[in-house]
């Protein structure tokens, strides 16, 4: 007894053109979907946050004005070199990697959560431990408050926004390093116009 044919169309007969066209249309339909699905799987995990605290490109930042621990200064990108100037002291070059590290970390930081609470003091934002202003167009000012109890996240506030935002506490680590650079500059003599303490 002859076994039944396995193929729908006998192999020695050409495919009818309608079936061929249908098959081609099906392939054309499925190809983009397959490509999207496969490329998504092959792609690396996203390195940029979905909801960045500050949406900016680090290389666009011309300057960073910082104040904290009763001191203030300006980091400025001059001809590819980062410098630091404080009132009453001459401007001096600083470790560019340190400033770029701060900006790189900030650019990669996403909001963990955001909320409105009039009690800013409860989050260390009534008198922030420090502020920085990014020299962008327009400028972006961020106030740095306290960390949450397990020290995992940091409360910050952008400009005069009523919202309190929570970001990873790695920002505080980077901030401390930036402030460390400021600490290295000798204190300006009195009446030199240095600002009052932030906190």
């Amino acid at each position: 007894m002859t076994p039944p044919p396995l193929a729908l169309v006998p192999v020695d007969e050409p495919l009818p053109w309608r079936r061929l066209a249908l098959l081609a249309a099906l392939v054309a339909l499925l190809a983009p979907a397959t490509w999207v699905s496969v490329s998504r799987r092959l792609a690396s995990p996203a390195s940029q946050p979905e909801s960045p605290l500050v949406d900016f490109v680090a290389s666009d930042v011309r300057s960073i004005d910082v104040s904290g621990e009763g001191r203030a200064g300006r980091f400025e990108r001059l001809g590819g070199v980062w410098t630091l100037s404080v009132p009453g002291s001459p401007s001096r070059p600083v470790d560019g990697e340190l400033v770029e590290g701060f900006l790189g970390t900030l650019a990669g930081l996403g909001r963990l959560t955001q909320f409105v609470d009039p009690d800013l003091a409860a989050f260390g934002l009534a008198e922030p431990r420090g502020t920085f202003t990014l020299g962008l167009d327009p400028e972006v000012r961020v106030a740095i408050g306290d960390r949450n109890p397990p020290l995992t996240a940091l409360y910050v506030r952008r400009g005069a926004s009523p919202e309190i935002e929570m970001v990873g506490s790695v920002l505080l680590w980077e901030w401390d390093k930036l402030l460390g650079e400021l600490r290295r500059v000798p204190e300006a003599p009195e009446n030199s116009g240095s600002p009052g303490p932030d906190r």
């Binding site: 690396s44 390195s47 990697e97 970390t105 990669g108 397990p150 990873g168 790695v170 460390g180």
Partner: protein
Amino acid sequence: MRMTHRWLLAAACVLLSSGIAAADGEGEYVLDSSNWQKAEKLLPEPVLKRVKAGDYQMKVVPVDNAKFKENFTAKYWAASEANEGKYDIDPATCGLKDKATGKVPGHVFGKPFPKIDPKDPLAGCKVAWDFYLANQLGEGIGATFTLNGIDRNGEFRRIKMWLHSNAFMGRTEPAKENPENLRGTTLSHAMEPADAEGVNILGQQINDWTSQDNIWAYVPQTRRSRRVNAASRSDPVAGLDIFSDDLNCYAGKVEYYKWKLTGESEVLAPIVGPSAFTMKPTGSPTRFEVPIPYLKGGYETPGSKGAPWQITENLVFVPRPVWILEGESTDPYYNFGKVIMYVDKDMNRIYWKNVHNRAGEYFYTAMCGYHWSKTEDGTFGATTPNMVMGVNDKTDRAALGGRYSSQFVERAFSPDYFSLRALSRLSD
């Protein structure tokens, strides 16, 4: 006459006891919530916070720096000094380069960079290399130990396993053969509980500047060995708050991270000892045994106060000067973001590391405790990771790893022992 004897005996006792007190207790103290301020600059902040809250009590034992350095052999220090100027760093990869050949060296005994200039932009890589090669001094090492998952209620999971490792690059004597051009290799086998039993893992680090770790896992249920991504070193081990990358506080190739030296400080270093233990000879001329006191955890100490995962016996904290190092992987599959490590300036041990996740949230601190061991004649020695206390500060849960009470040192492992064939045969 009898009275005179009694007086003499009493006087001798007083003298002896005062002498012991001075020798044993000088400068020693127990750090706890009543005097936490003493460690204000000596512990990473999340750890100090727990001391302040009453979670940890630490026995602080000051040591003489010169004496502490004797935990390494005199040969090691001499070789380190002689290495000055011989090695360099490939700036693109952080790879170690032999200045004479421009290539990666096959064997380096002693620190490749005995002097670190903190202003050197490659100082972070250099500290990392001093650390990496010191890990390998013991050549072949093995121990059976447990991983204990612990929360506020005590132990919730226990895994028993053994880990054997063989080093090629930083060993004391060069290996007779290294057919696969490896820096090091490891083999582990899970013994308990039943759901983990028979899971074996083989790891290899190739001696080049660019390749990732080769890792294979054998799962007995499928009777297959599968290649695993190097980034899995940052996956929790069996769902516990501990990671493969906690071995020595960093277990990857130096080139896997971007390293940056960001500062210097002093920390309280967790040490078992603090003097080197003696390697006891065995029937084999290449094998030694090292008996080590067990590090009891709070969860198994009746009446212990504080966190159940703190170590209550046989661990001391020694003030040590450290470099503060940042490490970050560019591998997008690696779960850790920025890792901050505290590395002994002289002994090159990473004692503490604070780990951020990829979102920049700090979440985890590992405390890495070590011991040193030396042969009776003092010509051969090793430093070994003894325990890890991994604490997840986000979930207030922890894991203890290691705490073995004996280890072996094998100076002549056969390279065949660390092979894919061995990986599957272990569970046959």
